[in-house]
Symmetry: C2
Subunit: 314 residues, 2 copies
């Protein structure tokens, strides 16, 4: 094993939730601005290469005020590794585009058949199915263009690999396939459920930490620490999602509550009960916090975020 | 303008169509083998990360004996620029994955609603719509993973940009959107039709030449020559496609003939007539051949291919 490159662990200064919120809001603002720049506005010129309706559909789905968790995690990881937010921004935006494309496709009638997303009609409802398929395809493709074009080449290739592995057939796309196949099946186990979530949502969250670290030039040990953190936070995030689906407020969620349980989807509360699920989420948050020890003080924001994610109501 | 880096133009040795066919068949064999390796076979283990049905659907669509025109062009361009076929192979496979994903999504009921592709039921007919959407998403994502993972990093990033620009919202995806929007509209012009084809099929064909050149370390001038060639060959290819749709043999095509004209799609024969279309295709093939002058003798195979594409019957 190689030696850690970080200084010995110092007592972690506490970070108030206001300080965390300020960083998160600043990061979100940067991401919103960059996303708006990366997807051009519809052109009045009917002979423009980018069709106006496609641009509208992509921007409709992308610029609709999501939590921006993945780009925020990437920026936070870059900052924790001593990198610049500017260098991490293209990869951060690519993550949000990949996340958004997956929502647009998952919402399609042939998939989860959802009418509401982030508080508004889903893409295929606001436009039509063909446009939604193409808007998703366009966002996924643009994500790779942006990270490859605006990141240093040797880092860009590694970021593309990290994003594609996380989003691809053995990652997010595979998780969605397994999730669809599991619907209504009665042989659910915690292991099978975690396998789905590890791929469907966890993989891209881990990739967010990884690309943040990569753009900051982090060492293998630090990338490993970020990965362990990402894995634990990703599962905890999903458990809280499942809990919100059972207990949450539809107006705050911006989507239909109790939809997963109605559809016969496997959920943590269904398998572990509500208290059991909360305990598992707390345990994972502890694991996430411990994993960050190699980062020392610089991991304070990521630590605070892990705790904060458990408290969210949407 | 920078100086050309190639030797002065020598008289081009003629290439027999048998010699061309031998190269093409050898290139196809390499591509088939590599594609089969890059998309893992379905696993018996139900807890495998790659769901068996997703792997089956991806392989069903990808390994179904297409012409492999895009990878063959990439390998031919690499060879014409003095590069190795091995170095170009990952990008070549990525091209075929991107092409196949676009066919899978374009065939969906909400898009072109096709039942037959490469002589077999389309992906959503052989499996189901959700699986077809995900298989397409998986192939597109895997394409970027493969080129980024198996190409030298500084070249990989440029290949990813070339592929993503060609396949993205201002390229292939935008061309498909414009094509859908044009259906049944009566204000067709040759310019509008060429704008659609330049994006829908032309952009990826040009990218094939470009990534071939990039992996071979070609200079800017040579990349420009390949691009002009790719542009002309791409349009000529589409004109021949339209002519085959009108005049072709369904058994050889492996898809329904006269489908485009039945759907009210804009076609070259519809706008220029059959003879006019043939003349335009010949003119473009001449342009393609002339563009290759900077490559000298090394461009012989690409020259022969441009002529050969006009003679095809499927």
């Amino acid at each position: 094993m190689t030696t850690l490159t970080t200084p010995p662990i110092a007592p972690h200064p506490s970070l108030t939730s206001t300080e965390l919120a300020e960083f998160v809001q600043g990061a979100r603002r940067r991401v919103e601005l960059a996303l708006g720049r990366f997807v051009p506005e519809p052109s009045d010129d009917p002979s423009a290469d980018l069709p106006a309706q496609l641009s509208e559909a992509m921007r409709y789905s992308l610029l609709s005020g999501g939590k921006r968790l993945r780009p925020v995690l990437a920026l936070m990881a870059a900052e924790a590794c001593g990198g610049s937010l500017e260098d991490a921004l293209p990869a951060a935006c690519a993550l949000e585009m990949i996340h958004t494309y997956s929502l647009v496709h998952d919402d399609l009638p042939a998939m989860d058949d959802d009418d509401l997303r982030r508080g508004r009609p889903t893409c295929h409802k606001a436009f039509d199915e063909a446009t939604a398929v193409l808007a998703g395809d366009g966002l996924l493709t643009l994500a790779f263009e942006i990270v490859a074009k605006h990141t240093r080449p040797e880092v860009a290739a590694r970021c593309v690999v990290a994003l594609a592995e996380a989003a691809g057939p053995s990652g997010m796309v595979g998780g969605q396939m397994s999730d669809l196949q599991a619907e209504g099946r009665t042989d659910a186990t915690v292991e099978a459920l975690e396998s789905i979530h590890r791929r469907k949502t966890g993989a891209l969250l881990r990739a967010a930490l990884r690309v943040g670290g990569l753009t900051a030039g982090a060492s293998g040990d630090i990338l490993q620490a970020l990965d362990t953190y990402g894995h634990a936070v990703g599962l905890a995030f999903q458990i809280v999602d499942d809990l919100l689906d059972v207990e949450g407020d539809e107006a705050k969620l911006g989507k239909r509550a109790r939809k997963d349980s109605d559809l016969g989807k496997w959920t943590y509360p269904g398998l572990l009960g509500i208290e059991g699920s909360k305990a598992r989420a707390r345990q994972l948050a502890d694991e996430a916090v411990s994993a960050l020890e190699p980062l020392g003080d610089r991991g304070a924001r990521l630590r605070a975020l892990a705790v904060d994610l458990l408290e969210r109501d949407r």
